[in-house]
Amino acid sequence: MTQPQKTPDASNLIANCRADFPALDQEINGYPLVYLDSAASAQPPRSVIDAIAHYQAHDHANVHRGVHTLSHRATEAYEGARDRLRAFINAANRSEVVLTSGTTESINLVAQSYCRPRLGPNDQILITHLEHHSNIVPWQLVCEQTGGELVVAPIDERGQVDLGEFDRLLGERVRLVAISHVSNALGTINPVKDMIATAKVRGVPVLVDGAQAIPHLAIDVQDLGCDFYAFSGHKMFGPTGVGVLYGRESLLEAMPPYQGGGDMILEVSFAGTTYNDLPYKFEAGTPNISGVVGLGAAVDYLEAIGMDNVAAHEQELLEYMVGRLEALDGIRLIGTASCKASVQSFMLGDIHPHDVGTILDHQGIAIRTGHHCAMPVMDFYAISGTARASLALYNNAHDVDRLVEALNKAKQIFT
């Protein structure tokens, strides 16, 4: 994988962007907030907040069903966001961009609409040991419903998928591969392009859980060659309750609707219903219009900075953070893959992550503690949870210094 390079003016863009995020400008427990929990939910820039407020104040109406001006404006705003999302991930066609409530719904949609009708008792779904619960449980449900089997590719001590085993497990019975692009607990960037190529050779479709990749990496679904790509708005500086399922058109066409309701139909009678075209077939009911508008604004924000610039900034900062953390006595880094997004899990001596989290919060520093909805990953390392610091485009070296200072204080309290 080639390292992303910053454009010449990127350093200024990134250094100044912090001021765009109002939530970062506050004190917590008497200290300026250091927000290191973007992997759980990223803060929205002012432009996202304003876009939502403007929509609510001026343009709100239901989409796709009114002849009046507001309905027209709402529809334009909603469909305009879809177009920007299509370009952002380089999908071939806007009909391949299904708007959902988030990654979880996107994955459940594929499990129920794509897998359930196709999976038989001898069939398998292949995932990896790195997955978030939302890329495990929907497959377990569909396996329970169909008698199918969930197969898990193992990881090594650094938190990298064993590609030899992945290749071996991708046998004749596998009907779908579902893999995370970036591990939420460990930050590992999986070589998804190669993994997809392996599956393609065997004619097996691939779903990529992109929830943790979308805020860090430039995504091109055609270049990756995946069949489905799922992600959430709130991980990429947009609002909660909105996300995307990219699906290859030929597959989406062949899938039955996931939910029934308004907007997903062309004609309804008691004798039967004709479903709407893509992507509306999968968007039953009034959607989260303001959320989609906000997500469109988040795309605009990220494109103005440039995803390669974001990735280059975060790689520098990750390197700095790992270096400073490694220098701490008694620290154990969890997740040390050679290719990583700007996320670091760790254990500080024998201090429980929950206690680390409280002591850090007390010093104005927000990190995530616990199992990160990835209990199998925790089981692999024989721990109940970790402390996790995640960096986004608005973080800087000073944030890392504050983290290290606060961790030293935690050690003092527990000595």
Partner: protein, 155 residues
Amino acid sequence: MHSTDELRDLYRELILDHAKSPRHFGKIDNVTHSAEGINPLCGDKLKLYLRLDDDRIEDASFEGSGCAISIASASLMTDTVIGKRVSEALRFFDAVRRQLTLNHTAGARTDEVDLGKIHALEGVREFPARVKCATLAWHALGSALQRKSTPVSTE
């Protein structure tokens, strides 16, 4: 705003001592009542064992993993209820719950029960996110005494 004093108040010497060297850790013999406590927020789990002689708690112990607050609380809890009658132990449970969840002015009537060492948990009140850690063992106690079969959750 939290002061450093509040942090020291949460992680008192007694709490840290019980967290590092929990009392009654392990499984006692001839268990008559047991329960599992789970904190889904952090994945912490503990298992509580009791040996009752009629309505007196003859012995108690616990196993599991958790943060300093939940381990210290389980340690203090078992230390406290051994030798107590069931009704007394439940009164302690109630008093602890009130101490940790009600504010001072709402009249946390814990004065009826002498909390003794358990008083060390009062610093948790200033950290609402950690109250569940401190009450996990006590919920397990309530569940064990009522012989509930499903694991008790703090949610």
